[in-house]
Point group: C2
Chain length 164, copies 2
Amino acid sequence: MTPGSNSTVTDGQLIQPLCAIFRRFIKRQGLKFTPERALILSAVLGKDGIFEAEELLYEMRQAGHRVSKATIYRTLKHLVDARIISEVLIDADRTRYQLSFGRTPKGHLVCVESGKIVEFEDPALTELRDAICQKYGYEPLSFQFTVYGRSPQARQAESIIDDR
Amino acid sequence: MTPGSNSTVTDGQLIQPLCAIFRRFIKRQGLKFTPERALILSAVLGKDGIFEAEELLYEMRQAGHRVSKATIYRTLKHLVDARIISEVLIDADRTRYQLSFGRTPKGHLVCVESGKIVEFEDPALTELRDAICQKYGYEPLSFQFTVYGRSPQARQAESIIDDR
DNA sequence: CTTGCTGCAAAAGTTTTGCACACGT
DNA sequence: ACGTGTGCAAAACTTTTGCAGCAAG
């Protein structure tokens, strides 16, 4: 139950419909809707932003659920297929994920010094995605826009050290 | 429509200046400009588009140069630091690279079925990068825009199989 | 000479897979 | 019952690192 862990009230409203959507998606492929899959989906919905596989595993175990790393990875793959979450590629270290169902796709602004990630929305992103796809005759599915820069704090910190 | 402005012939003209730039960059850090580093830079300049570390290693060995995987990775890192090449993150499988020095930054259109990657230019990309950075007070460094879709060929192939 | 560089092999880290058993449908 | 799913541990991969000898400045 973990009281007080529900920081994202709005996401809570998504649990019911998304469970149904995921279950339908799974069944449509002749696969099975298991407790583990439901549990992982619910853990994903509890995340408010970008998350990682290992992080999900850790938090689920903290919450007393015993799931294996393998099942996490296998289920995340299905959730991506179902277009409920999407991969977020910020660096080559590991894959990150983000809830994407029913949300405007976001761009990401990354500080190369601190690694801090800021999400932002801009209608131009989806417009650009569609324009490019139309130009090449592609069916648009998703996009990823990541901007790398130096945050104000990092610039200030650097200017103190910097003496070249 | 685009003439051979991105061909390897044009890149040939970049070898001299880029060697100088890289050497200066390396020396500025108190590091050493070695034959291996020059060789790797030259192999990179021979690539016409996106490439991978392993691919570079294979081709250099084919060409009769003996370089280690470790040195390839170490040098690619320096080339990224020097802003001569940039990382291209298409999927989580591996890191790809691309010559970026003196070039308009590109976006990538990826077919999710075939994995084919099309590069494209659009001034809106850099404009968007700068607009976002300005909004948050960041110093813009680079960006990555990847659009995932289904190519006309893939859509056609799928429609033949598809009979749900 | 001093300091960094290279190749090799081993290590590290993330993601995948083989297997035996358990469980949805 | 049948066919998937799960957990575990091992495997697979890409990328990094420790080390001993080598080379650039």
